[in-house]
């Protein structure tokens, strides 16, 4: 492995390993419309989900819920770019938390994103979420989207499971969801 100081930095052996970012689980769905991380330990400060997924159809939202709760305890707000436009929006008391209209995806163009859940193990606070996700399909059309969102789950229960659903279309081969714990 080569390293040319000043111009090229190649991968190095003997890495330093940061000690506070842990992989809890990875899911690679090839079908189905949702993935669930369950039995999440309460030993971390925050959770982060990183994903890259493909689905069979365009135009579906990414929806997230916690602990199997399908009541109206969720809220979300977002700003997003689509095509050449910028817009914002929000929703209160949906049955699942919507992180925008991001999943304008297909079996060719991955939708990617990062979901951060802060203080997920608290038993005295509502849970706040932020997301950054997007999809580009090499067009200027509105199906290319970039979304920044905040979310709220109005529950003081510790989060022990987390579900991400497309709202209808099935995941396709090449999809990866990984849950991390941050201590």
């Amino acid at each position: 492995m080569s390293l040319t100081p000043g111009i090229i930095a190649s991968s190095l052996t003997g890495h330093l390993v940061t000690s506070n970012f842990f992989k809890i689980a990875t899911v690679t769905p090839t079908s189905g419309t949702s993935v669930t991380f369950s039995s999440i330990p309460n030993t971390y400060k925050s959770l982060q989900v990183r994903f890259s997924f493909l689905t069979a159809l365009n135009g579906y939202q990414v929806l997230t819920s916690f602990n199997g709760d399908s009541s109206s305890d969720y809220a979300a707000h977002w700003i997003y770019a689509y095509g050449s436009q910028v817009a914002g929006g929000g929703v209160n008391q949906p049955s699942m938390e919507s992180f925008g209209f991001v999943a304008g995806t297909s079996t060719t163009y991955p939708t990617t994103g990062i979901i951060d859940v802060i203080d997920y193990a608290s038993t005295s606070k509502y849970k706040t979420v932020r997301t950054f996700n997007g999809m580009n399909n090499n067009t200027n059309a509105s199906s290319t989207e970039l979304v920044l969102a905040s979310g709220l789950w109005q529950s003081t229960a510790a989060i022990t499971s987390l579900t991400i659903a497309t709202g209808g279309t099935a995941f396709a081969t090449g999809s990866t969801f990984t849950l991390y714990g941050i201590s």
């Binding site: 111009i7 930095a9 991968s11 390993v17 970012f21 990062i114 997007g134 290319t144 970039l146 920044l148």
Partner: protein, 168 residues
């Protein structure tokens, strides 16, 4: 037992000006890559260009991106299709003295699908500046084994520019 992961693969701080910064021989053992760059350039208001797997120059057409930007007074969106690099700096650009801060996340970089990345750019030059978020597509199903931050013409990244590649 959960696995600790967020590994600094390589870090480079330029000791002299350079026209590009390249990370090569990237191992395929991680799920995602993250790059953090804080840098300046020899000219003001220039782009950071991101290319993969040894592609250089402006001949490629396999890149596209969409950005949302704020410049202090308005929000806007920008698109580029069939272009030769990802450009997370659309509004203010790299500067000669005040550093610009970038993060680039590349998801499933070792997989066999097209590659999508999320990028952030933060620039404030005391009177103007911008905050930018971008999504990029690289229409190539090959694993990403190297990535480069390039410039055009005689522009160079200044000494002191720092780039770190992380595996997640």
């Amino acid at each position: 037992m959960a696995t600790a992961t967020y590994v600094p693969i390589a870090t480079q701080t330029l000791s002299t000006a350079a026209s590009s910064i390249t990370f090569s021989s990237i191992p395929s053992t991680y799920t995602d890559l993250r790059i953090v760059i804080v840098g300046t350039t020899s000219s003001s208001s220039v782009n950071l260009n991101i290319q993969f797997n040894g592609e250089t120059g402006a001949s490629a057409t396999t890149y596209s991106f969409t950005s949302i930007t704020g410049n202090g007074s308005a929000a806007a969106s920008h698109n580029a299709t069939n272009t030769w690099s990802w450009v997370p700096t659309w509004v203010t650009g790299l500067q000669t003295s005040i550093p610009t801060f970038y993060t680039i996340d590349i998801f499933s970089y070792a997989g066999s699908t097209y590659k999508t990345g999320l990028m952030t750019t933060s620039t404030d030059i005391n009177g103007s500046g911008s905050v930018e978020r971008s999504v990029g597509l690289y229409r190539n199903t090959s694993s990403i084994t190297s990535l480069s931050f390039t410039q055009t013409g005689s522009v160079t990244y200044s000494a002191g520019t720092t780039a770190t590649l992380w595996g997640i």
